[in-house]
Symmetry: C2
C-alpha cells in the first residue's frame, strides 16, 4: 500500500459557506443555520429564502468533510462482503445501497476475501473514516471483529450471518428450517440414502444448515434411512466438481445429494454429466440460494430461494434504526427461505436397480428451461 493518496484540484476555487454568507449579507453562522434542515426554523423564513437563493446561484455545495469533522457524524455506511464476485451478494449490495440512500447515506464497499484478518483491518479503516454504521456479511463463527465493532461503538448489522452469542443484531435466512424442508422433500420422493455436502464450518450458515440436515435425519433414521455428510474445502463450482468426482469414484450409494449452496451443486452436476450419470434419474441434486440462471440449467436446479434483496433491505433498514437509536434492543431477524422445486430432484430409483446407467429407466418429464 502506498500511503499518499491524492485528491483532485477543482478547476475553480470551491464556493464556501462564507461566500454564501457574504453574498447574502449575513453572518456565516446564520448561513449555516439556514442551510441546515435541523436549525433553519430558528431563522426568519425571509432570510432563509435569501440565503438559499444565493447558495443556489453560487453553486454552493456543503463540504461534508468539514461538516463531519465538526459534528463527528458522517453520511457514510460501510458494507463488507466476503466475495464481491459471488452473485449471491449482488442483490444485497444493490438493496443496501438503495435503502441507505433513502436516508441520505452513501455506501463504502469492501471485500474481506473470507479472511478474518482482512476483515479486521477493513473494520478498523472504516472506523477511522467515521462510518456511521456497518453492514457485514463476512463474520465467521466467533469472529473477533464482532466484538471489535461492538467495542468501537459502531452500529453494526450482520447479514447472512448470525453471531448468536453476541450483542449484535443480524438478518439471515432460516437455514436450518430450509435444509430441513429440503430433506423432507427428497424423503417424500422416496429417497432413503441421502448425502449432504457441507463446506468447512467456519460460518454460521454452514453450521445452521448442517444442524438442519441433522435434525431432519434424526427423525428419518428410525425409518431405516441412511444419511451421510461430506465436507468440502470451499464454496465454489470447482470444488463441487471435485467432490462429486471423488464421491463417484469411491462408490457413492446415495440417490440424493444436497449441497450447501448452488455453486457446489452446479459443480456436482458438471461432474455427474461428465461421468454419464443421469440427474435426476440416478441421482437427485439440490442446492441453496437460487442464484440467477439456476432455473435454466439442464436439469433446472431444485434449490432454496435466498431473497437477497430482502436481506439487504432488512439489514440496511435495521442499521438505519440502530443509527437513530443506539440503545435499541438487539434484534435477530430470520427470513424463511422457500423451496424451489425444479428438475434436478426426482423420484428415487427403484430399489434393486443397480447404479449401472444402462439399467436405469429414464422417467423424467422434461422440465423446459
Amino acid at each position: 500500500m502506498s500511503d499518499t493518496p491524492q485528491g483532485h484540484q477543482s478547476k475553480r476555487p470551491r464556493v464556501t459557506i462564507v461566500d454564501v454568507a457574504n453574498g447574502a449579507g449575513v453572518h456565516v453562522s446564520t448561513a449555516s443555520r439556514a442551510l441546515n434542515p435541523g436549525t433553519s426554523h430558528r431563522i426568519s423564513s425571509k432570510v432563509v429564502r435569501k440565503i438559499e437563493k444565493v447558495a443556489e446561484q453560487l453553486g454552493y455545495k456543503r463540504n461534508s468533510l468539514a461538516s463531519s469533522l465538526r459534528t463527528q457524524k458522517t453520511g457514510t455506511i460501510g458494507l463488507i462482503v466476503p466475495n464481491l464476485s459471488d452473485p449471491l451478494f449482488s442483490p444485497i449490495i444493490a438493496s443496501v445501497e438503495e435503502r441507505v440512500a433513502e436516508d441520505g447515506y452513501v455506501t463504502f464497499v469492501a471485500n474481506s476475501d473470507y479472511s478474518p484478518v482482512k476483515l479486521r483491518s477493513i473494520v478498523e479503516r472504516m472506523s477511522s473514516q467515521f462510518v456511521a454504521g456497518l453492514v457485514v456479511a463476512s463474520f465467521e463463527l466467533n469472529d473477533p471483529s464482532v466484538e471489535l465493532c461492538l467495542e468501537l461503538g459502531i452500529p453494526t448489522v450482520a447479514v447472512l450471518r448470525d453471531p448468536r452469542h453476541s450483542r449484535m443484531s443480524s438478518v439471515a435466512m432460516d437455514d436450518a428450517a430450509g435444509v430441513q424442508a429440503m430433506v423432507e422433500h427428497v424423503l417424500d420422493l422416496g429417497h432413503k440414502d441421502i448425502t449432504y455436502v457441507t463446506p468447512p464450518l467456519a460460518a454460521s450458515t454452514a453450521q445452521n444448515r448442517l444442524a438442519g440436515f441433522n435434525a431432519a435425519t434424526r427423525l428419518a433414521k428410525a425409518a431405516g434411512c441412511r444419511f451421510d455428510v461430506i465436507e468440502a474445502r470451499a464454496y465454489d463450482v470447482v470444488e463441487g466438481e471435485r467432490i462429486m468426482g471423488h464421491m463417484l469414484a469411491s462408490g457413492l450409494t446415495s440417490t440424493a445429494v444436497l449441497a450447501f449452496n448452488d455453486l457446489l451443486a452446479v459443480g456436482c452436476l458438471v461432474a455427474l454429466k461428465s461421468a454419464g450419470v443421469a440427474c435426476p434419474e440416478q441421482i437427485s441434486l439440490a442446492g441453496v440460494n437460487d442464484l440467477p440462471f439456476m432455473n435454466l440449467l439442464s436439469p433446472p436446479l431444485t434449490t432454496l430461494h435466498t431473497a437477497g434483496r430482502d436481506l439487504g433491505f432488512e439489514s440496511a433498514d435495521l442499521l438505519m434504526s440502530l443509527i437513530k437509536n443506539h440503545s435499541q434492543p438487539v434484534k435477530r431477524i430470520l427470513l424463511t427461505p422457500h423451496l424451489v422445486l425444479r428438475g434436478s430432484t426426482g423420484p428415487a430409483r427403484k430399489p434393486g436397480s443397480s447404479s449401472d446407467p444402462s439399467a436405469i429407466v429414464i422417467q423424467s418429464d422434461p422440465i423446459s428451461v
Copy 2:
C-alpha cells in the same frame, strides 16, 4: 431523502495526534511529520521511533476527515455502475476495489439505475465528498456528466463505455470487432439469414456492436445473404423473451439470431424452448459477455467473453496514474473480446427444409454441461 445522517459515538474518546505528541514529549507538528510517510524523513529516526511507539501504545488512528480537510485530498474513489445487480458488473466492482486498495484507496459504489439524471446527482455528491477519482460505467452517449466530470477536474475513467468525442480516458471492449467475429462465425456455419437484436442506442456499446454487425453484413450482403436488425426496449431476460416471442409470431425467417448481450440471448432461448423451436437445429443463438453459468445452459450459449476483471483492473490502474499525473494524455484502451463457441450455434438448416419442427433433422453433437 432525510438530511441528517448521524454518526456513531465511540465509547472511549478518540486518541488524537495531540495525545501522541504529549506522550512523546514533542510538538504536534513533529508528531504529524513523523507519522506521515512523506515527511518522516525530516525527523530524526530516533524521535520517529519514539513517536511511533507511543502512537502504537495509545492506539492512535489518524482522523482522515481532518487530514483530508486540511490537505484537500481524500483516499476515496467513486465507482458508478448502471445496475448493481447485473452480474456483468460484479467482477468489475471487485477488481476496481482490489486495484485501488493497493494504492490505499477505498471505494464508494453507487447505482445510477440507467438514469443520466441520477448519474449527475451521484457525480455531484461524490465530488462534494472529495473523491480523488471516478470510475464510471454509466455514461450514455453524449452524456452531459462526462463534461461535468471534466469541468469539476475530477480524474475520471469511463469503463465499458467510450465517450469518443470527449477528453476522457476509457477502457472498453472492442465491441465492433467482437460482433464482427460473431457474424463471421455464423456465416461460416452456412447461415444466410441473420437477425441482430439491439437495445436502444443510448450507450456506446449498443452503437459499437450495431456498427460491427453492419460492417460485417456489408461484405456478406453481396453474397446474397439477408440481415435484419430488431430493436429491444431493454437489456434483460424478460425483454429477450418478449422479443423472440414477437419475432416467432411474426414469421421469423432468420436461422441465426445474435443478441446484444447474454441476458437478451437467454430470454430468446427461453422463448424458443417454450415455442418448441430447437436450438441450434432450427435457430442458432449467440450472446455477448459470457456471464457465469452460460456454459451450463442447455444448449450452452455461444458468446463473446467480456473480461470483467481485466476491465476493472485496467480502468482502476488508469485512474491511479491519472490521479498521480493529471496532465496525462487521454488514453482509450480497447480489450479484444474472444469468441466462446458453444452449443447454441450450429450449422444452418438445409435450404428447402421448412421451419416446421417435424421436418428438422436433429444433428447436433450434444455438448455436455
